[in-house]
């Protein structure tokens, strides 16, 4: 998929691009509004990551322009402003999602994937985890025909780890995904530990879960296979 990263901070754009490339996206960058405007006019993009804080351009105008030019790109707004009005305005103009700086790269990826699933009406496939099967669509976890009784948060946590299979996720990344960053003044690494502990206990009632790994000093991971 083609992604245009519109971000005036070059080093941030580079990091996002390098991460998305490793996730098999094709990335293009624009560090000014004018550059972005030209690129949108010429190229076809599936995704445009748009920083609203461009010095030369009102980011929201870019959405209007793209829509006028018939672009079907999905916009994900990146902003450091955190002002609610921007979010509302952006979503009104047809942006697909909104993410506030500083964000986790895996979170950005998961937003892009979510928008892509909606856009292309992709039905999520069931995922196998040892003897467990995660029915993503039905939001159920089943082990040899028995449903595992999980709370919403426990399921979300497991799903996020599964979607980022093979990657170590830090407690902060997990916390922000589950709780959002509204409460980030209350961030508590212990929350994630407690929920993982409960999750493991519930899963282990069915069968052992060697695939759910604790990575010492870093975080948690679902092993690649």
């Amino acid at each position: 998929m083609n992604v245009l990263i519109v971000e005036d901070e070059l080093s941030l754009a580079t990091e996002i691009a390098s991460f998305l490339k490793s996730e098999n996206f094709l990335c293009d960058m624009a560090i000014t509004g004018n550059e972005a405007s030209e690129k949108i006019a010429v190229n076809l993009y599936d995704f445009i990551l748009l920083d609203l804080g461009l010095p030369d351009y009102n980011g929201l105008d870019l959405i209007k322009e793209a829509r006028k030019a018939g672009s079907e790109a999905s916009f994900i707004i990146i902003t450091a402003r955190g002002a609610v009005e921007d979010k509302v305005k952006g979503l009104d103009l047809g942006a697909d999602d909104y993410i506030a700086k500083p964000f986790a790269l895996v979170e950005l990826l998961s937003r892009i994937n979510a928008v892509a699933r909606r856009k292309f009406s992709i039905v999520s496939q069931d995922i196998t985890l040892g003897e467990f099967t995660m029915q993503v669509q039905a939001r159920k976890l089943v082990c040899n025909g028995d449903q595992v009784d999980l709370t919403k948060k426990e399921f979300d946590l497991l799903q996020y780890l599964v979607l980022n299979r093979g990657k170590v996720l830090t407690r902060q990344q997990l916390y922000e995904h589950i709780w959002g960053n509204i409460l980030d003044d209350q961030y508590d690494s212990n929350f994630i530990d407690v929920h993982i502990k409960n999750l493991r206990r519930k899963l282990n009632l069915h069968t052992a879960t060697p695939w759910l790994e604790t990575v010492r000093g870093v975080g948690y991971r679902v092993s690649p296979d």
Binding site: L12, E15, R81, G82, K101, L183, G217
Partner: protein, 442 residues
């Protein structure tokens, strides 16, 4: 203190002053009427005396007193309301006085106001008495009294009604101004159209308020611009660093030791991010950037928070109890902010309560006032800690590695924004109670 509206105060004063004056008037009225009435009666008696004397000097004393009679003349009307008598007297002294005395007429004792007058006729001295019965006098007086009372009541009612109407009319602009103030949730929402009035004081008040609102709005806007800029300037570098560190963490060639160091750096960065966000949040709250336009069921909100925190509490073997005695529907609120406020306090309670402790989250409605109480059986606070509880950075606890120590300062600004009164009491090693008293009519 009991608050009373200006309109009511004026009306009460009006009524009271009228009542006082009326009472004073009523105290003196009998005396005044008595005086007027007596003067009237006396004048009447004197006039009758003049007439009688005139008559005597015209016709002589003969028609009244002659040798056939006993030397005296008397006459009274049928109801004995008045009488007149004339008799010869040998007293040499001159009498001209009005007295009150009893007379027996046809076996009936009647009290009269009597005019006594001596005069000379035909070389003799005569005493003339003209009397008017007191009963007649009193009847006259009572009539006057009744008429005056009726008139007085009528006047009081009329003036009271017009006074009320008039004060309502002249106070209307003031009412409009206070209504304008009461209705707004932020200075930007203030109605800048001046209130129509020809009372210069109200016009000045209204004008001053409008100017003040424009100024406040302006400074809020500036502060908002500053927070937006600070937010952008600080969050962008944090974001750059975070992305760089995360990319390193994801690289396969990163070793275990490096990964741990990277995660530690990410944690430090997270603290910086939290801190900046918290300070920005306080700035946004204090510059009124959050709208207070939602209605929140406080008990539902608290239940949501306790559900959220229950796994953590259970993990510590801390009991998290709900005692919701009232739902507490609170208007003019910002739900995410209230959530953040209570979350902060309850989360703090969980953090500071040891194993087998208990936290109670309760709501109550007492005399129309809704309140929330959060009590824990935790380690409590010393007087010094309590004093600094809501100041920024001071409440950071030694064993709280993730917190910024600013959570309760945020909670306090959110409470202030909503007009919620917060009080805390604490005993070391016993526990801490937080009370949130909500504004009335919420």
């Amino acid at each position: 203190m009991q608050m009373i509206r200006l309109k009511t105060k004026l009306a009460l004063f009006n009524l009271l002053s009228k009542l006082v004056f009326t009472a004073l008037f009523l105290v003196f009225l009998p005396w005044i009427i008595e005086r007027i009435n007596l003067r009237q009666v006396d004048n009447d008696l004197i006039q009758k005396r003049e007439k009688t004397i005139d008559l005597i000097s015209a016709t002589g004393i003969e028609p009244f007193i002659n040798s056939d009679t006993t030397g005296a003349f008397g006459s009274f009307n049928i109801l004995k309301e008045e009488y007149i008598s004339l008799e010869k007297t040998d007293g040499s002294e001159e009498i001209n006085e009005i007295t009150v005395s009893d007379r027996i007429i046809e076996d009936e004792v009647i009290t009269y106001r009597v005019l006594n007058y001596t005069f000379q006729a035909d070389g003799e001295t005569y005493l003339l008495e003209i009397g008017k019965s007191l009963e007649t006098i009193t009847r006259g007086r009572n009539n006057i009294y009744r008429i005056i009372l009726g008139f007085l009541a009528f006047i009081i009612l009329i003036t009271l009604a017009t006074d009320l109407q008039y004060t309502r009319l002249i106070l209307k602009p003031l009412e409009l101004i206070t209504k304008k103030l009461r209705e707004i949730s932020s200075p930007a929402k203030f109605d800048m159209n001046p209130v129509k009035t020809n009372t210069s004081d109200f016009a000045a008040l209204d004008k001053a308020l409008i100017e003040l609102m424009v100024k406040i709005e302006d400074s809020f806007r500036k502060e908002k611009d500053i927070t937006v800029n600070i937010s952008h300037e600080l969050m962008t570098p944090i974001s750059v660093m975070r992305s760089k560190l995360e990319n390193i963490l994801f690289q396969k060639e990163t070793g275990e030791e490096t990964a741990i160091k990277i995660e530690e750096s990410l944690k430090t960065l997270q603290r910086l991010q939290s801190l900046v966000n918290s300070l920005l949040m306080i700035a946004r709250i204090e510059s009124r950037q959050y709208l207070l336009e939602e209605t929140v069921e406080v008990a539902d909100l608290l239940a949501e928070i306790t559900d959220e925190l229950r796994p953590v509490a259970e993990d510590k073997k801390v009991e998290l109890k709900e005692e919701f005695n009232d739902k507490g529907s609170f208007t003019k609120a910002n739900r995410p902010l209230l959530f953040s406020m209570f979350y902060n306090v309850i989360n703090n309670a969980v953090k500071n309560t040891g194993q087998d402790g208990r936290i109670t989250v309760g709501t109550a409605l007492t005399a129309g006032v809704f309140s929330v109480k959060i009590s824990d059986s935790g380690r409590g606070m010393t007087k010094k800690q309590l004093d600094n509880l809501f100041s920024r950075f001071s409440s950071r606890r030694e064993n709280d590695e993730d917190g910024t120590g600013i959570g309760l300062a945020i909670a306090k600004s959110i409470a202030d924004l909503h007009g919620i009164d917060v009080s805390v009491s604490s005993t070391p090693d016993k526990g801490t109670d937080f009370s949130f008293i909500f504004p009335k009519n919420s």
